[in-house]
């Protein structure tokens, strides 16, 4: 087996920082689209955040949603074209803060979409403000003394929360900070895309993403930070798997 860049990725340089998880996850999704041969059937929805330009890189039809509204936009697309594969790609600010209402209701309706939830515990594009997923005590530009849980509450565990809804079908939290983690993340994404064929409900794949720039770390330190700190609040693995028939 010879490694190749998926044909479904556009031949341009990405704008992401060195060590950022987005480029990797873009590639994984596009690998899945290529392997399943569903380029013609796939429509993506990009968020507001670092991945706002996802449509510059993914060689599929896409829509750019307003901040937080990706799941509503995806609902509009999927309800009109129920046989297409529709996914949203959203960060933690987009999904867990401003867009948690649209996300929760889309999942509660069991929209047959895939939500790819990129959680790096900070607002990336606006350069490192506190997110709903920021770890307790974590320093950001808007929590300079560390996130005070008594003031801002605890980080929202989106996957655990959404797994409670009957509308969610498959919920998994993965990372992409090692070769093994990347393989597991790819497997979860592939599984989630395939589940869309069943029309059984919403799939949510959360990826704990490296953000070395805003964490003020080297890429290697960021990868280590995920294993040592992030997983304490956001443990990796499948959270909701379909019951065997």
């Amino acid at each position: 087996m010879v490694y190749h860049k998926p044909s479904t990725l556009v031949e341009v340089n990405m704008h992401y920082c060195p060590g950022c998880a987005h480029s990797l996850v873009h590639k994984l999704i596009m690998e899945v689209v290529e392997e399943m041969d569903i380029q013609e059937q796939t429509i993506g929805v990009a968020p507001v955040g670092c991945s706002v330009f996802a449509y510059d890189y993914m060689d599929i039809d896409m829509q750019e949603a307003a901040h937080g509204r990706a799941c509503a936009v995806a609902t509009g697309i999927k309800r009109l074209m129920p046989d297409k594969y529709v996914f949203t790609y959203q960060g933690d600010g987009d999904l867990a803060a401003i867009g948690i209402g649209e996300t929760l209701h889309a999942i509660n309706r069991g929209e047959n979409i895939l939500i790819v939830f990129m959680n790096n515990a900070v607002y990336g594009m606006t350069s490192g403000q506190m997110a709903p997923t920021t770890l307790p005590g974590m320093h950001t530009t808007t929590s300079p003394d560390g996130r005070d849980v008594s003031f801002y509450g605890a980080p929202i565990k989106v996957s655990e929360l959404m797994a409670q809804l009957p509308g969610s079908y498959f919920v998994s939290r993965q990372a992409v900070n090692s070769a093994n983690a990347v393989r597991r993340a790819k497997k979860a994404l592939l599984q989630a895309f395939k589940y869309q064929q069943l029309h059984k409900g919403t799939c949510l794949v959360e990826i704990i993403g490296n953000c070395p720039s805003n964490w003020k770390m080297t890429p290697l330190e960021a990868s280590k930070f995920i294993d040592e700190e992030m997983v304490k609040t956001f443990p990796l693995g499948d959270i909701k798997v379909p019951k065997p028939v």
Binding site: Q39, V52, V73, I77
Partner: protein, 351 residues
């Protein structure tokens, strides 16, 4: 379907949407327009169309974005507070050039206001309620018949210009029952090659966006939109005139106010005051040019509105100081009687 039916404005609108081939409707309950969602929730499934009660108006308008972006004929309706919530989405829809129909059954405000009819959303509708430089085509129905007719027109204009169209109605037109006829409708064929329907190997990918981060590209996009709005201003101005041929005075009023003014014309003319009415049908683009023509004929114009004086600014813009432009209005969901309007007109004739 050529026979007259007796229907509520909101129901006529909903039925027309079905007949105009509306593929999808997304809405949220709010008085005085909930009948639209109720009617479509009952009827749309019979035609295998998509109808959905969203969790909010914010969600509705973004569902419209998604469905319209995929190339489908899509509509949402609401009333004033709900339309305020949609403004962000409307700005994105205008920026991304997505055709769709949005209907505001205007109630009086500000804030939660009242559920009674008003025209306080004029500025929001025609001057851009959301952020950035954009325009919607704004249609103002004055009867149940027009609640139906403007659905076909609205969808067609939206497709023609790849632009959102707003129908600005009000609580009275939406709630009242009148006879209505659904005309034969031939839907123009419009190619939507830009829609996100899934990328075949034979074409480049389509993407729907309002983001142009480089100012040079943003400016190009802005200029493209401006050129489109100019074309709309040149081609789509619509209005109705009643008894303007010999008029010395002119009412300018749209929607419900125009209906009341029609009665006021009869009363005034019995008193020997020759007054006519110009009723803008499109609030954007606005019939400035025709108002300027009429300014050389009449002594005074009176803008009659259910607000504190909003459209009067456009009348003054059109007339450009040539004749006095006065304002008469009621707020708070209160309606003027034709007699009150005539009484005010009489004070002007004595000036």
């Amino acid at each position: 379907m050529s026979a007259y039916k007796l229907m509520k404005g909101n129901e006529a609108l909903a039925e027309a949407a079905i007949q105009a081939g509306c593929d999808a409707y997304f809405g949220y309950p709010i008085t005085p327009q909930s009948e639209v969602l109720e009617y479509l929730a009952r009827e749309m499934p019979k035609y295998n169309r998509v109808v959905m009660q969203a969790e909010s108006e914010v969600a509705s308008i973004n569902m419209v974005y998604g469905a319209a972006g995929a190339g489908f004929r899509t509509m949402t309706t609401s009333s004033s507070p709900g339309i305020s919530l949609m403004q962000e989405g409307i700005s994105y829809i205008a920026g991304a050039e997505l055709p769709c129909l949005i209907v505001n059954v205007n109630r009086a405000g500000p804030g939660l206001g009242t559920i009674q009819p008003g025209q306080g959303d004029y500025f929001q509708s025609v001057k851009g309620g959301g952020h950035g430089d954009y325009k919607m085509i704004v249609l103002a129905p004055a009867s149940v018949q027009e609640m139906a007719d403007f659905v076909y027109l609205g969808f067609d204009l939206a497709d023609k210009y790849r632009n959102p169209v707003l129908m600005l109605s009000d609580g009275a037109i939406g709630q009242m029952m009148e006879k209505v006829k659904f005309h034969e409708y031939k839907r123009p064929v419009v190619e939507k090659a830009w829609a996100t329907t899934g990328k075949p190997k034979t074409r480049e990918r389509n993407y729907i966006t309002s983001l142009f981060i480089q100012p040079e590209r943003m400016e190009v996009h802005n200029l493209k939109l401006e050129a489109k709005y100019k074309k709309i201003r040149e081609n789509e101005v619509r209005w109705e005139e009643i008894q303007t041929e010999d008029a010395d005075y002119l009412f300018v009023a749209y929607g419900l106010s125009a209906r009341i003014c029609q009665k006021a014309i009869d009363i005034a003319r019995e008193k020997g005051i020759k007054v006519g009415l110009l009723r803008p049908i499109t609030l954007y683009p606005y019939p400035y040019a025709r108002l300027l023509e009429l300014a050389s004929q009449v002594k005074c114009m009176l803008s009659v509105e259910l607000n504190s004086g909003q459209m009067v600014e456009d009348v003054r813009l059109g007339v450009n100081g040539k004749v006095p432009v006065e304002f008469f209005g009621k707020m708070g969901g209160m309606l003027p009687t034709p007699e009150e309007i005539v009484h005010y007109l009489e004070t002007l004739t004595r000036k």
